[in-house]
Symmetry: C2
Subunit: 361 residues, 2 copies
């Protein structure tokens, strides 16, 4: 599978570029600033991304779309980084996207309205052979999961978590990078929008019809395993999350991992998506979470938590070190904050488990 | 909430009426034959439903649509009981459905293509104020579940199971009927197509976008609780089903039941939807299943399995009795086959738990 991870993106965020108003754009600027030539927004034009977001360095914000396309030696793709009000494509966007497609630039979008399905833009792209990547659009034909992910020749590991937004994607990306540096054929499987933008392929499993969650996960694992020895499946949600647990369990059963990385933010005591109400679902201790995930997976395919990934960004250095030490002591497993400290404990745990599994077959 | 459960249906099954080819029609004929005036199929016309399916008695199969509408004193609704090849509405169907709508008959459909969205038929129905019930169509605006199902004034019970197709819907319908006979304000909540056809409302939770499984369940519980003291939520799939477990967990967390009925077919040893491959996922003992469901629910809302519902249709009477006795001995809970024997053990267990819960508030 060839993935175009070398794009130079112009981000379309016209009229909405800001810390709270352009979530998709901001994720991309955080995770792959080196691939972004500029941001198009007529309101913030003239500033840098750093000026607007507080991170992102000297990436320019421009107010002229054609100029934006020419930045950094020329953009190779346009990334839609905001959602237009009402969900419909504004007429002006239409002109800009048409211009990009006519110049054979790919269009990547996280909109709920799929650009592929737009008669004018989708039709133009098909005629010109230009790819449109609608990150939220499920594949047309998903299977009902039937265990084929358990039959691949690659070792499958999966990130699970105490909650949403605790670093599951980052954990797997950091581990993938470390394993690739060690010479392993490791592959990251994106299951959410940002991961899809980072890798250029994947399926937003929370956007598929409920019957096909596990099937979507299986489909991704089969694809990734074609040219990898280790497949690292991004996680979503949490088995104890009242809103999203179904996605989490479908992903766990469909991807059939042999090993898990359990992700957690040590400072978080309660499931965090319910700010509108009293703290409600308390996050149990790590050792309970290890059991909850292993128990849930077992009937379909037994699996083991191999390591604990901690997101300590909001702790001081000493508290972060203590959290890592405490996680090791509590679970008897390797633990790390792969961003702040080192991904080696997690990468090594997966590498070791993968080697043992490959040798045992 | 007013539900039209007194319809007289003509079932549209033209060209496909048969034991293996008209699943939706057959479910309806099995569950509410008393509401069906006839089946329209030009191939089997002249026979009875009994002739074609082996059950269903003297309900006639007719080859003239207008004649069908006039059967039994006049149909009040048309129920689409088959899926046309290719998913598109054939031109002939269009004429028939138009005729029905013009006569102010409701149209109920389990098609993946929604009749509501058909410009001609949907438009005509809206102009005439005729309801079209697309059983698979999710509501337009579903919430992300946020725990409101746990705050209703009704006692919520939910059917869960060892597998698909073990009698979860039937269990709750039988219990509902028993509780209503006892004078309780009990309400059945349909979460799948057949249940929706039986009750006239509900949401097929396996057809919603994955992020909204729990939200769809919450939405249904809130609606049902408006005029019930006991809400009985139909289950889907199984927590150990490799393909559908996500739907099951979302439904469990979203509906926030205080009590569960665990449904099982004693003769089934393995998850049954995988006939194409070796027996794979072994169904654990009932006592393990009790623990699996209680453990899965606990982080969101602790719940208890109140009784075991057995589907013994494929056992002889002595073996069926033994299965019930064995389930009681193994779990210490009431057990019953509510269709073959008596729903009282399950209905009483729920009534008792509901009374205690109402008194404790």
């Amino acid at each position: 599978m060839t993935v175009p991870v070398d794009h130079r993106f112009l981000i379309l965020a016209d009229g909405q570029f800001g810390p709270m108003s352009s979530k998709t754009a901001n994720s991309c600027l955080r995770y792959f600033p080196e691939r972004i030539v500029g941001v198009f927004d007529r309101i913030e034009a003239g500033k840098t991304v750093q000026d607007v977001l507080g991170f992102g360095g000297t990436i320019p914000v421009v107010g002229d779309f054609a100029l934006g396309l020419s930045l950094g030696g020329g953009a190779s793709a346009v990334l839609v980084g905001i959602a237009p009000a009402g969900g419909q494509l504004p007429e002006e966007w239409r002109g800009w996207l048409k211009l990009a497609i006519e110049q054979k630039l790919e269009v990547w979008s996280g909109l709920h309205t799929f650009i592929t399905d737009d008669p004018e833009l989708g039709g133009l792209a098909r005629r010109l052979g230009v790819r449109i990547l609608d990150a939220r659009k499920p594949p047309a034909h998903l299977p009902i999961a039937d265990g084929r992910a358990g039959e691949v020749d690659a070792y499958v590991a999966h990130a699970v978590g105490s909650d949403c937004n605790v670093g599951k994607m980052t954990a797997m990306l950091e581990v993938r990078n470390a394993l690739v540096r060690q010479g392993r054929k490791a592959r990251f499987v994106a299951t959410g929008q940002t991961g899809i933008f980072i890798e250029g392929w994947g399926t937003a499993v929370d956007a598929v019809v409920a019957d096909f969650i596990a099937g979507a996960a299986e489909d991704l694992v089969l694809k990734a395993a074609q040219d990898a020895d280790i497949v690292l499946v991004e996680g979503q949600g949490s088995l104890i999350h009242p809103g999203y647990s179904g996605v989490t369990l479908g992903l766990l059963h469909g991807s059939m991992p042999r090993g898990l990385i359990l992700c957690h933010q040590p400072s978080r005591e309660y499931i965090g998506d319910y700010h509108g109400r009293e703290p409600w679902v308390k996050i149990p201790p790590l050792s309970d979470l290890v059991r909850i995930y292993e128990d849930a997976a077992r009937p379909v395919l037994p699996t083991k938590v191999l390591g604990i990934c901690l997101n300590t960004f909001d702790l001081d250095a000493a508290a972060a070190r203590r959290a890592v030490t405490a996680a090791v002591a509590e679970t008897g497993l390797p633990a790390a904050d792969p961003v702040r400290f080192d991904s080696a404990p997690l990468a090594d745990a997966i590498a070791r488990a993968a080697t043992e599994w490959h040798q045992s077959r």
